[in-house]
């Protein structure tokens, strides 16, 4: 077992949505902890509840029942204001569809974060980290999907987050671009020591993790610790 203490602990998490006239049970009682510095992959088919879990861990959503504790802070009883502070100070997000602001350039999208963070990287540093120092003044629409995702990663890490949460970061990308993006995530985890969680339905990605957790129909169905992390560039699918 790792000696590092848990950074984030989720206990007995459930989540029920109302979509239109239908109740959707996205999580049906999940326990999960994230440990400092690790890279964890959450594996699951679409609809397994993994995005819901990530959103709850990242303070984007609150569970219907259960608790989430970040270090000493109980996020389940946190106010909207406290959740905002949690995201602002500790969490970096990467989404499947990048979620860049289309009316802002690459640099400005990153600046959105650096302007409100305490001790951020500069937008230029962050973009350099993802290898996009050259394309800083392009608008999202002028960039490829992989480039957009790398900007999203730069934006997520620019605040030097404690947690980097990536929701299907390669979901909208082709194989080669996907590998580049995973390499960037890997580098961030290694070089900055950021606790990183990657959600994917793409099983081979699991090989790059310290730990792999499998979700099915809102429940944790398996947890595996990899002996050895495979470098992102060696992944094949």
């Amino acid at each position: 077992m790792p000696v590092d203490p848990a950074v984030l602990e989720g206990r007995a998490l459930t989540k029920v949505y109302r979509m239109g006239d239908v109740d959707v049970h996205a999580l049906r009682g999940v326990d999960l902890s994230l440990y400092a510095g690790e890279l964890i992959v959450l594996l699951g088919a679409s609809g397994s509840g993994k995005s819901t879990l990530l959103n709850i861990l990242g303070g984007l959503d609150i569970p219907t029942t259960g608790t989430v504790v970040y270090r000493d802070h109980d996020l389940t009883s946190a106010t909207a204001r406290e959740l905002t502070r949690y995201r602002r100070e500790h969490v970096g997000f990467v989404f499947q569809f990048y979620n860049l602001i289309p009316s802002l350039t690459a640099r400005e999208n990153v600046a959105l974060v650096t302007e409100i963070a305490d001790d951020p990287l500069s937008p230029e540093e962050a973009l350099g980290l993802v290898g996009l120092g050259e394309r800083m003044d392009h608008f999202p629409a002028q960039l490829s999907g992989g480039e957009q995702q790398r900007i999203a990663i730069a934006r997520a890490v620019a605040k030097r987050p404690d947690l980097l949460l990536c929701d299907e970061p390669t979901g909208a990308l082709d194989y080669q671009t996907g590998i580049v993006v995973l390499e960037v995530i890997e580098a961030v985890n290694r070089e900055l020591g950021t606790t990183t969680a990657v959600i994917t339905h793409n099983a081979p990605v699991a090989a790059m993790a310290d730990r792999v957790v499998t979700l099915h129909d809102g429940r944790l169905t398996g947890e595996v610790r990899n002996e050895r992390r495979v470098a992102a560039k060696e992944l094949r699918w």
């Binding site: 239109g20 602002r88 409100i116």
Partner: protein
Amino acid sequence: MVRALDRKLFRDLWRLKGQMLTIALVVAAGIAAFVTLRGTYTSIQEARATYYERQRFADVFARVERAPRSLLSRVERIPGVSRADGRVVEPAMVPLADVSEPLRAQISSAGPEELQVLSRLHLRDGRWLEPGRSDEVLVLESFATARKLRPGDRLPLVLNGKKRDVRVAGVAMSPEYVFAIAAGDISPDPERFAVMWMSEEALSATFRMEGAFNMVSVQLQPGASEPAVIDALDRLLEPYGGTGAYGIGWQPSNRAIDGELAQLQSFSTVLPVIFLLVASLLVNVVLSRLVHLQRPEIATLKALGYSDLEVGLHFFQLVIVILMLGAGVGVAVGGYFGDVMVDLYAVYFKFPNLEFRFDGASASAAVVVSVLAALVGAFSAVSSVVRLPPAEAMRPPAPARYRRSIVDLLGLGRAVGPSLHMIVRELQRRPLRTVFSSLAIAVSIGLMVIGGWYYDSIRDLVHTQFHEVMREDVAVAFIEARPARALSDLGHAPGVLAAEGIRVVPVRFRSGHAHRDGAIFGYPERGQLRQLRDRYARLAPLPPDGVVLTEVLAQILGVRPGDSIEVEIHEGQRGKRRLIVAGTVDDAMGLQGHMTAEALASFMNETPKVNLALLRIDPASSETLDARLKDMPYVASVTRRADLLARFESQSANMITTMAAIILLFAATITVGVVYNNARVALSIRARDLASLRVLGFTRGEISAILLGEMGLQVLFALPLGLVFGRWLVVGIASTVDPEQWRMPIVITDRSYAIALSVALIASVLSALLVRRRLDKLDLIGVLKTRE
């Protein structure tokens, strides 16, 4: 450094520039209307206040037959009176050589300049009168300007039947004649109405009024009761032929200003409120859509750690930028129109320093109110989305719920195509937006109906007054009433085809405590040239006995047909008598009683007399007739109907055109703002659907029909509503016109309705075309690829 979020703000603004601009223009129209009307109101009011104060304009006025100057000290002893001033005021005539008929004039006595007590003259040019000189006058500036008179010029003047030549010593303005209108006229005629002043000694001598006065004015002490002073004054003056004192509210010039101010005030409240409501609605519609479209961005910002407040403020800033833009334009345009309006008023109201004063405090208040109105519109749009947990905001919203529409319920489901279903179900899904949009368009149509009515009612009034009521070519007023046979003199004059006489008796109508000053008109039997008509020019019956009162007058007096009223006669032997109200008539202006000549003569205890002769003349011998009239010493004034008409039309034309243009412009702004923004929002909501339909093989025309059909139905719904609303507004606005002076006919021609509808339709079609262009450029692949 510009923050990234602010950059987003400006880029959003730029991307939505069409919508932002149209909303800003609606705001601008509201602020402009306010700045113009309110500024005009304040300008006139302040000009009046300072002018009255500086010239020490009196508070209470009374006419007497003749009272000794010694009476003034008794007037000053009335509790509440601080000062009193007595003058001689008499009618006169100015028979200018190059003008066919003598001009009407009013001449007042004036003491030495430094001893002017109340209602002091403001000398503009030349010098003051030399005491005792009977050949010098001061003339009112508006008359001097109209007749190009300068100090030193000479004028013929008929005073008390005697003609003499006088010299213009100076040109003056007077607070008493800001709005200088001759008795019985409906608008000022500075060319034909001369107001003059002559030295007191000279004028008194001419009218045998030495040591006496026939007009007294009084200044009240602060806090004094006007009615109490009027009562006391009436009692004091009665033995001297007092015709009843009246307060400043009834002073003719001041009353005209009051009437105009009241209208400006109501306009300056109603119009901006309408515009701000529409702007608030538009902000809500557009922002709701924008916020909806930006759900993922909002969620991202929140995921990045921006708080609800920061995100909310971001959208509010957007609104505030639009508002500031609108307010800036509005203040500038309002200032410009304010100048125009005040210039128009300056034609009627003669103040020494009437100029448009930008009312900064009110304008700032208007801007603040419009910001609040828009923020109210923005609040509901923004708050719901901003409050969503970011994860929820990131998911696409649940599919909009549509229901079976009224078309299905009517069993027409099969009969109509899918396009109509889409249109009707969309309208039905957002009933409030549909209703409010239609209402806003209806409001703009309503405003245009007001503009049309403004024009129509004055046309109608002109027609009633100058074609139906006045059927004579020339009206000749006598200095005093003459036996009816005097008419035969005129009837035999060269070129006169027909002559009729009217008896006009100035009176005070009284019933209980209510009283009003006016006149009773006596009409000859079978007279053709003037008949009793209501404001819609319909002939009204004249019973053989009793008096027919103006409806408003009857209401003021609280009497009905069959009741009796007291009538104080303000002419000749005077006295009070009772008279039976035989009926009422809804005539167009003033407060009158109408009787048959016979009934009036018997009421007056006199053999039938006339003081107004109405002539039909042969235009060919008009000049010979003029010469004859000039020689008749008992003629006080000669008025040609055609001249009156031409002057009225030329004066009112400017005002009407300006007002109508302003209203039209503003109303079109609303229509464009509403239709364009709705269409853009509808396009944004429908883009995916429409692109899908295009992929399925629908033509551009067919998808345009779906989108624009929605707008079309809203506009269609608004059209009848607008006309009804317009008429309703007209009735409201007509009621702000002082009913004791005017009863504006509620006449709206089909033409005006048609113009209102056409402008709304044209503005709608233009807006639709703008949106249609975007529809043609719809990116089929792109739209389908992106998620909602």
